[in-house]
């Protein structure tokens, strides 16, 4: 049965070309739409790039001695990020004494008081330090600033790529007007791969720079020291973003640790904003200005404190970066180019592929590789999920009832259990006997006879039977949205040997020939006809022996 290539490729036309042409108006509308994408992305790319360049520039400025005159945390309560470093320092440049109040070239603001306090603590009044002076203008900075902000350029870069690609598609030959040659094929895989990589990069960045540090701090806070504190101010901060307004709790409190007074506005380890003002308002109402409360202080860095220790349910949202990474890897791997394109591979005549001698077959996946893969996946998945399981168990032990977190974790735990089962199953399979298979001739040809010889290394006596057969299957890989799936259909299964005699199971051989009209193997990027020799042995109360070996089947000679 023939199936249509669902929207994937151009339709072959016969006779006169009648390819659909989009009108000029359509192209202009498309250009306007994608042009806005492009220009908006370019604008943000320019703004981020300018900031990064300004920071990079300070690295070339000469370093001169400086003395801190004063330092403090500056508060601007109406801002989303109300805290910044206020500093005054003096230095000498060209024989003249100068005073500067610039901490970094671009003003750095903090939503977290403790981060601003930590920066201030590092430059107390009277400290002799160094600053960087612009040799062209009377300008100095105490710190270079952070370059990682450049990572944010990835976001507008996506807009720029989509915009530029869209505008090109509107006007490119064969896209907007002329029918594209069928033999040019579908060349969209490259951009999909880049998008996949971008997903992985964003997921990894969120995981490494935000999620893991906050999770580790949240877990560490269980051992922090409990101290009384006084609430100085409390409010709900509105954060405007592209997705609308979100809210976060901002409670500033002071506390004493080892006879030194500190301040913090950290409520919990995860300090992000989210939708739903009412819940945040309820928290703020519990911490009225002037009221007494309890906070938990990091004894190794007393400027770090939280009002609620441990991981809140918000921490579970952090599993989303994993989904980003998984989707990105899936898109990237499915779109990557394979070694030896089909056109190259299949241009060979059958006689080029023929190998008159015997061939020792290699398993497609060795049991050890399968086991290591399963262990890695199970460890990676369960390692992350276990952080939340421990937290959930701790919450239940404390008498809290974290139902939401518990229900949220159920599917993650089930998937983790399946991975563990797979790891144990593949571990048991390692103890199975290993089949060694020799095929003569090394490349099969339709209508020709061949011989398969096998011997089992290991405890072959445990096998109740052994079946050796040749399997042919179709493998079709397709994309649906961001998912990539592969459908398989077995069209042939030729029995080569079925043995139950223990001696024949341990070592034996069999001959047969193939029908004259079977297809040869075929391997393109998305579509394959795969021939494999499979060895299956039944073992009582144990994972069965199941090995698959790749086999080459050449094209039939012309009749």
């Amino acid at each position: 049965m023939l199936l249509d290539c669902a929207g994937m490729g151009p339709t072959i036309q016969r006779g006169t070309i009648t390819g659909a042409r989009s009108g000029l108006a359509g192209r202009f509308v498309g250009t306007l739409f994608f042009g806005i994408f492009f220009l908006a992305g370019l604008l943000f790319l320019f703004l981020i790039g300018r900031e990064v360049l300004r920071t990079v520039e300070t690295y070339s400025w000469p370093k001169v001695p400086a003395v801190i005159l004063s330092s403090r945390v500056v508060e601007e309560p109406d801002e989303e990020s109300p805290y910044s470093v206020g500093v005054q320092y003096c230095y000498t440049w060209n024989g003249t004494k100068q005073v500067s109040d610039r901490f970094q070239r671009s003003r750095q603001r903090f939503s977290d008081y403790s981060r601003a306090a930590a920066a201030v603590a590092a430059i107390p009044a009277g400290r002799e330090t160094e600053c960087f002076v612009n040799p062209h203008t009377p300008e100095a900075v105490l710190r270079h600033g952070e370059l990682w902000i450049g990572l944010f350029a990835l976001i507008p870069l996506v807009f720029v790529l989509i915009g530029a690609g869209g505008v090109y598609a509107c006007w490119a030959p064969g896209k907007g007007g002329k029918a594209a040659p069928v033999s040019d094929g579908n060349k969209g895989g490259g951009s999909a791969r880049w998008f996949g990589l971008l997903f992985v990069a964003v997921g990894l960045a969120v995981l490494v720079f935000w999620y893991l540090p906050n999770t580790l701090q949240g877990l560490a806070s269980f051992s922090w020291v409990e101290k009384p504190c006084t609430v100085e101010s409390s409010r709900v901060v509105e954060v405007d973003s592209d997705d609308g307004t979100t809210y976060r709790v901002d409670i500033l409190y002071r506390y004493e640790f080892q006879e030194t007074q500190h301040r913090s506005n950290r409520y919990s380890s995860f300090q992000g904003s989210s939708s739903g003002r009412a819940a945040k308002q309820a928290v703020v109402s519990r911490y009225r200005p002037g009221s007494q409360a309890v906070c938990f202080v990091d004894p190794s860095a007393p400027q770090n404190a939280v009002l609620v220790r441990g991981l809140g349910w918000e921490a579970a949202i952090g599993l989303l970066p994993l989904a980003f990474i998984a989707v990105g890897m899936g898109v990237f791997l499915s779109g990557r180019s394979k070694k030896g394109s089909a056109a190259t591979l299949l241009a060979a005549a059958p006689e080029d592929l023929m190998d008159a001698g015997s061939r020792l077959l290699k398993p497609r996946v060795t049991p050890l590789t399968r086991f290591i893969g399963m262990v890695f996946i199970a460890a990676f998945w369960n390692g992350i999920v276990s952080v939340f399981l421990f937290h959930m168990a701790d919450e239940w032990q404390r008498g809290h009832q974290p139902w939401f977190l518990t229900l949220f974790l159920v599917p993650f735990v089930l998937v983790g259990a399946a991975f563990l089962f797979g790891a144990v199953y593949s571990l048991l399979s390692l103890a199975n006997p290993k089949p060694v298979v020799i095929l003569t001739p090394g490349v099969l040809t339709p209508a020709c006879a061949f011989e398969v010889a096998w011997s089992l290394r290991g405890s072959a006596g445990r096998l109740q039977n052994l079946v050796v057969f040749l399997e042919g299957r179709e493998e079709a890989t397709y994309r649906r949205g961001t998912d990539t799936s592969t459908d398989r259909h077995v069209f042939a299964r030729f029995v080569i040997a079925t043995v139950e005699n223990p001696l024949e199971i341990a070592q034996g051989s069999a001959r047969r020939s193939l029908p004259p009209d079977i297809p040869p193997g075929f391997a393109a990027d998305n579509n394959k006809l795969v021939w494999s020799l499979r060895v299956h042995g039944k073992i009582a109360f144990w994972p069965d022996l199941g090995e698959e070996f790749e086999v080459q089947v050449a094209a039939a000679q012309g009749r």
Partner: protein
Amino acid sequence: MNATITLPKMDFEPGETISGTASWQTTQEVRTAEVRLFWQTRGKGSCDVGVVAVQTLDLPGQADQRPFSFVAPHAPPGFSGRLISLVWGIELVLQPEGSVSRDIVIAPGRKEISLEHPEWLEMEDPSPTKRRMAQ
């Protein structure tokens, strides 16, 4: 633009010569003209295309007619399965005008190989897991 590919027959044995004529009439100057022998997949999977041979037609005119000739490759043969079909084609590509193509069959016996042969399934999959996945 009017373009046609004329072939004396549409099905070929591997190794056989495929000869034909490409003719066209265009409204603008033709920069390049070539005839390609290619295969493409159709079916459930995303399309794969492989160009096996290209003949460049020198100094193409706006109205022109040129012979071409290829040797049909031995692999891959045209086939049709439940998920995948492989179809061969000849395509005339005129830049900047466009292209036109015709399906042909290259397979042993000049007949597309069918993968629908119930007699080829001599046994069930002995692995319960794979059997479940196949269902």
